[in-house]
Amino acid sequence: MDQAYRVLVIDDSPMVFKAVKRAIEPEGFQVVDQAFNGQEGLEKIDLLKPDLIILDVTMPIMDGIETAEALFQKNPDAKVIMLSAMGDEELTSKAKQIGIKIFLTKPFKPEELLKNIRSIL
């Protein structure tokens, strides 16, 4: 079983939050909280100091790209997996430009998410 790394999910979908929990908690990861937009996400990152952030793109108030830009400015070593229903070349290229190393499209397979989490941590 994996070390109890702490994971924050920043996604406005309760269903995605449940799916991530279901995929990774049996493997020993601890999903500490959900934030419903990027602004809330940045606040919870400061408060909870998670080891990993799973970050959606399309969210109200502050989207995933803006959130990642703000996060990497403060902490260039932050571990972030971006998750999105869209996966076009412009978006993935933009994500890579701002420092996102792993970009997964929804729907994700649990084993694919786990593999990527293990590779980034």
Partner: protein, 155 residues
């Protein structure tokens, strides 16, 4: 929007629905008559699209179908109506995202993006927007019908 381009947009969304339902849930759909007269309880989700073109995708499904799709993907049942709404929103989001990916890769610079979904619980919901090109499609499946309405600002 030119008619040919609008037709291509609609085909992308239709194909995304058919492909994702088949691959994710092993559910086959085929065109049928309007489902609005069907008496089963339905939910609707609307996802907006912004970018060089603006539009919306409006999906209506019966609660039974949404329940079946959830069970198929997650191996457990949804117990409350709120979760049914959230799941329909997420499904609509994912399938629309799949179509948008294809459109953006085909039309570089379109920068089409999704807006967060809105959910409605209504028997027969019509959304009327002036100056929008609209294409409606209804499908049947073994678990319940689906109505998909694709609208984009056009000529």
């Amino acid at each position: 929007m030119e008619q040919d381009k609008f037709r291509f947009f609609c085909n992308c969304f239709e194909d995304a629905f058919k492909k994702n339902l088949a691959e994710m849930f092993d559910v086959q759909i085929k065109s049928c008559n309007d489902i609005r007269k069907d008496s089963e309880k339905k939910l609707s989700a609307v996802v907006g699209v912004v970018g060089i073109y603006k539009g919306r995708i409006h999906v209506t499904m019966t609660e039974d179908l949404i329940q079946h799709l959830y069970e198929s993907a997650n191996g457990e049942s949804i117990l409350d109506e709120m979760d049914l709404c959230f799941y329909l929103a997420e499904l609509t989001n994912m399938i629309t995202g799949s179509a948008i990916t294809l459109l953006n890769n085909n039309y570089k610079g379109s920068n089409l993006r999704l807006t967060p979904p809105a959910i409605f619980a209504d028997e027969n919901l019509d959304i009327v927007t002036p100056q929008i090109q609209l294409s409606s499609h209804t499908y049947s499946s073994n678990y319940g019908p689906i109505r998909v309405e694709i609208g984009f600002e056009g000529v």
